[in-house]
Amino acid sequence: MNGLEKHLSRRQLLRLLGIGSTGAVLAACGASQTASPTQAPAAKATDAPAAPAATEVPKPTDAPAPTEASKAAAQTLIIGRGGDSVALDPAVVTDGESARVCTAVYDTLTIIEGTSTKVVPWLAESWDTKDSKVWTFKLRSGVKFHDGTECNADAVKFNFDRWMDPKNPYRYADQKYEYWDTEMSSVVDKVDVVDPSTIKISLKDPSSLLLVKLTLFNFAIASPTAIKEQKEKYATQTGKPVGTGRFKFDSWVPNDKITVVRNDDWWGNTANLAYTQKPLLEKIIWRSIPDNSTRFAEYQAGTLDMADLAQTDALTLKGNPEYTETTSPSLAVGYIAFNQAVKPFDKVEVRKAWAHAVNWDAIITTFYGEYAKRATCFQPPAILGHNPEIKAYEYSPEKAKELLKAAGLENGFETDFWYIPVVRGYFPDSKALAEAMAADLAKVGIKLNLKTEDWGAYLKDRKDGKFASWALGWGSDNGDPDNFIGYHFIWSDPTKPNIEDSYNNPKLQELLQKGRTEPDAANREKLYKQAEQIVHDDVPRIPVAWPEGVSFTKKYIKGDKPLVFRDKYELFSVEK
C-alpha cells in the first residue's frame, strides 16, 4: 500500500460516510470512526478490485415501478441527522453532512458503480489514455445545470481552474480547497478543453488513481454561471448550489433543514445506464436535530422517515414491526488501552489481570445486543491478518487476582480511566460500559476513577500520554491491516515508542514494518497474524468488541439495495 492510496481512502471514507448512510444508520455524530460497511474495499478498487465484496456483477436495476400518480404526493423523504451542512459547495467542504446533500445536487465526472467498487462513467461518457498520464474525457452531451446553462467542457474546465489556481477570482478568503490540495494538486498538471464535449487532463506523473479520485464528491461539477453570479455567497446558507444532479436545491433553513426537489430533466433519466435509475422521490428534506434523544423520539413519532441514530438507540427498535433491520459485517474495534509509562501498567500481569477480571461477554450482550461480537483479537475477521487461533481472555476473577498477586498488587490499586464523551459505533455508550467494567474490576481490587472530557481535548491528551488507561476504537478506512493494527502500533518516531502508550516491543515493530512493504498477500497475512499474537500476549490494548453496521429503516421506505459504495437516493420510494 503506498501512502497516496491510503490517504485517498481516508478521504473517501469521509465522502462515503455521508452518502452511504441510509435509514437509521448507526453512524450518528458524523463519526469517522464508526463502523460502517461502506469503507472497506473502496480504495482497493483503484488498482486491483480484489476485495471479496467487490465481485458482484453490476446488473440493471429493476425499478419497483410504482404508479406515479398515486405515489407522487407522498414521495417526500425526511431524514433526521445530527448536524447541519456547513456549505453546499463541494469544492470547499469536507464534512459528511455537507457531502450527503452535495451528492444529491451535483454529479461527478465518474462514479463508483455501487454494488462493486468499479469506476463507471457519469458526467464523463467515456475516457481514454495511452500512457496513464494524459487522459481524455468525452463528456455526456446535452447535460444542463439546474439553472438551465449547459454543462460542457468549458464548464468543467472552469471548475478545475477554480480548484487548481489559488489566485482564481472565484475563490474567497475563507475558502480552503482541502480535498483538491491533498488529493489532486500533486497529481494534476493541467486541464485543457479539446472541443465542447471533450476535456483533456494531463497529470504530472502517470497514475490510474485519477479515475477513482474523480468520484469524490468534492470534484463534482458546479454551474460556472451560478458561481460567478453568487460570488462568495455561492452555495452557502444564503446562496444556492447549482449542479446537474438528480435533485435541485430548493431551500435551506439554517440549522433546521435543507430541502431538495427532484430534477425531472436529469440527464440520467434518458441515459439508460445499468447502474442507476430515475429517482422516485420527489423531495428530500434533511433535518438537523443535534440532540440524540430528540432525534430518536422524532423517528419514533413518525415525523422522520430516516434518522441517524446512536447504536444503543437503534437497538431498542429491535423487534419493532415498523422497521426493517439490516446488518453488515464489522470493520471496527472498540478497545481499552493502557499507558505503560504509568505504574502499574508497566507490568504485563496487571494488564492481563484487567482483561481477565471483566465479564466482557455480559458487557457485549448488554451494550451491543447481537450487533457486535466479542473481540477475540485486535482486528475483526474482515481485515487481513485477523488471527482466528487467538482465544479471547476468559472471564476469571480468580486468575485476575493471581496475576495481580504475581505483580505484587494483591491489595489492588487505584487508577484513572477515561471514557469517550461521544457516541461511536465501537462504544455506543462508553460511560455506562465504563461503569459496568469498573464494577467488575472493583471485585478484584482495581478501583477506577471514571473520567472524561471534551472530545477534542480527549484525543489530544490521549496522544500526549496524559491518560493512564482509556477507551477508544477504530474503524477501518480501507480494510488494510496497515491502516488497522499497523496504525495503532507502529511508532511514529522510529526511534522510540509512542508517547500515548509507551509500548515497546521491537519484534512487533519489525513485523508491522515488513507488512508495509511485503508484496505477497499470503505472506502479509502471516506477518499480521504474528503481530496479532504479540498484541494478544503483551496486552497493550484489550480489544472489547467488533461492532457491526446495523440500520433500522421504516418499513414503508422501499427500494433499499446494498449499494454501499455510493449514495442511493434514486432507489428509495415512500409507500405508506
Binding site: 481516508r10 469517522s32 470512526q33 417526500t76 425526511i78 447541519d84 456547513v86 456549505a87 469536507t94 475563507d174 452557502t236 446558507q237 444564503t238 430548493d250 431551500s251 433553513v253 439554517p254 440549522n255 433546521d256 433543514k257 430541502t259 423531495k283 428534506i285 433535518r287 438537523s288 436535530i289 443535534p290 440532540d291 434523544s293 430528540t294 432525534r295 423520539a297 422524532e298 419514533q300 413519532a301 413518525g302 415525523t303 472530557e453 471534551d454 472530545w455 477534542g456 481535548a457 484525543l459 489530544k460
Partner: protein, 352 residues
C-alpha cells in the same frame, strides 16, 4: 407591597422631569455593566478547556495543521490584542464567524433570536395568563378547593425539572398519542421565507393561515414547558397581592358603593395587584433564558439556547462569546425595561 395608584396623582412638569431623569440614569447605568459584560464574556471563553481547532479540523488532523490554522485565525496572539480586536469588531456590528460553520455570528443571530423571543413570549403569555387568572381565582375563592388546586399546580410547576417535563411531554403527546409534533418550529415540508424571522408573524404576512396553525401547534409544547419556569411564581404573587388589595380600604369602599365584585376586581384590585407581578417577570428573565437552553435542546428549537449549548460542546469560541454576551445583554436590558415600566406605573419609584 403595592399602594393603589391614586387618581389625584396629577402629573406635572416636575414629574415629567423626574421621570425623564430617572429613565436617563437607568439607561446610563447599563453601559458600564455592558462593558464589563463584554470583558467577562471574552475572558471567560478563553479559560475553557478543550481545543476547538482540533475538533474543527477533525479527530485525526495532525498537530502542525492545527497550529497553522490557529495562527491564521489569530488564536495564538496575546489575549489583550485578541480582546481589542474583538471589541473593535463588536462595535462594527461584527461578532466574528462560527469556527465550525464559518457563518457570521450576526447572520445566525438574525434567525436564532426571533425563535427564542417567540418561545419566551408565548411562555410568558401562558405563564402570565394562567398564573394571573389562577392567582386571582385562588384569592377570591380563598381556602376552597380551587385555591388548593391552584397552589398544588404552582407547587408542582416549580418542582418539575424542565428537562424531565419536556421528555415526558414529548413521549406522551408526540410519540404515544401523536397529537402534537415532538419537535422543531414548523413541519418539515413548510419553509417560511423569512421576513421578520418570527414564524407566527411571517406566516400571516405571507397570508398562510395553515402555516400559522402549524407553527402554533409546534409552539404548544415548548412554550408550555418553558412557562413552568414563570407561571408558579406569578400565580403565587398574584394571589398574595390580590389578597392584600382585596383587604384594602378603597376596595371595601368600592364594594360598599355597590359596585359588582367582578368589576371591582378587574378595575381596581387586579390593576394594583399586577404591579409586583411585573417585577417578578423581570426577575424571571434569567430563569427563562436558562429554561430556554433545556427546552430548546429537547424540542430541537433553533433558538439561542440550543445555539449556546451546542457552542459549548463544540467549543465554538465566537458563538459562545456572542451567546454569553447576548444572554447578559438581554438580561440587563430586560431588567432595565422592567424597572422603567415599573417607574412609569408606580410614581414613587422616581423619587428614589
Amino acid at each position: 407591597m403595592p399602594n393603589p395608584v391614586r387618581l389625584d396623582d396629577q402629573p406635572n412638569r416636575i414629574h415629567y422631569w423626574l421621570m425623564g431623569s430617572y429613565i436617563f440614569r437607568r439607561i446610563l447605568m447599563v453601559i458600564p455593566v455592558l462593558i464589563v459584560v463584554s470583558f467577562v464574556s471574552f475572558g471567560f471563553i478563553r479559560l475553557i478547556k478543550g481545543d476547538p481547532v482540533q475538533i474543527m479540523l477533525g479527530e485525526r488532523a495532525p498537530a502542525e495543521e492545527v497550529e497553522k490554522f490557529k495562527q491564521q485565525m489569530g488564536l495564538n496572539d496575546p489575549m489583550p490584542i485578541q480582546y481589542l480586536r474583538y471589541m473593535q469588531q463588536l462595535l462594527q456590528g461584527n461578532m466574528g464567524k462560527s469556527l465550525i460553520t464559518r457563518v457570521p455570528v450576526t447572520t445566525e443571530l438574525a434567525y436564532r433570536l426571533p425563535a427564542t423571543i417567540e418561545a419566551i413570549f408565548f411562555a410568558l403569555l401562558i405563564g402570565v395568563t394562567v398564573g394571573v387568572s389562577m392567582g386571582v381565582l385562588a384569592a377570591i375563592k380563598r381556602n376552597t378547593a380551587i385555591d388548593l388546586i391552584a397552589n398544588m399546580v404552582a407547587l408542582l410547576g416549580v418542582a418539575m425539572p424542565v428537562f424531565w417535563l419536556a421528555l415526558v411531554m414529548i413521549y406522551l403527546f408526540g410519540v404515544f398519542l401523536k397529537i402534537l409534533p415532538p419537535g422543531a418550529r414548523i413541519d418539515a415540508n413548510i419553509v417560511i421565507p423569512p421576513i421578520t424571522g418570527f414564524y407566527l408573524i411571517d406566516s400571516l404576512l405571507h397570508g398562510r393561515t395553515d402555516w400559522f396553525v402549524d407553527a402554533l401547534k409546534h409552539m404548544v409544547m415548548p412554550s408550555l414547558v418553558l412557562s413552568t419556569t414563570v407561571m408558579p411564581s406569578i400565580m403565587r404573587l398574584t394571589r398574595a397581592s390580590m389578597l392584600e388589595v382585596l383587604r384594602a380600604d378603597y376596595i371595601r369602599t368600592a364594594r360598599a358603593k355597590g359596585l359588582k365584585m367582578g368589576s371591582v376586581i378587574l378595575r381596581h384590585a387586579l390593576r394594583n395587584a399586577l404591579l409586583p407581578v411585573i417585577t417578578t417577570i423581570g426577575l424571571q428573565i434569567g430563569g427563562l433564558l436558562g429554561g430556554a437552553i433545556l427546552t430548546e435542546n429537547a424540542f430541537s428549537w433553533t433558538g439561542m439556547g440550543q445555539w449556546f449549548f451546542g457552542a459549548i460542546s463544540r467549543r465554538d469560541y465566537p458563538v459562545l462569546q456572542a451567546a454569553i454576551l447576548l444572554n447578559a445583554t438581554i438580561f440587563v436590558i430586560m431588567t432595565m425595561l422592567v424597572d422603567i415600566s415599573y417607574a412609569l406605573i408606580d410614581p414613587r419609584i422616581r423619587y428614589k
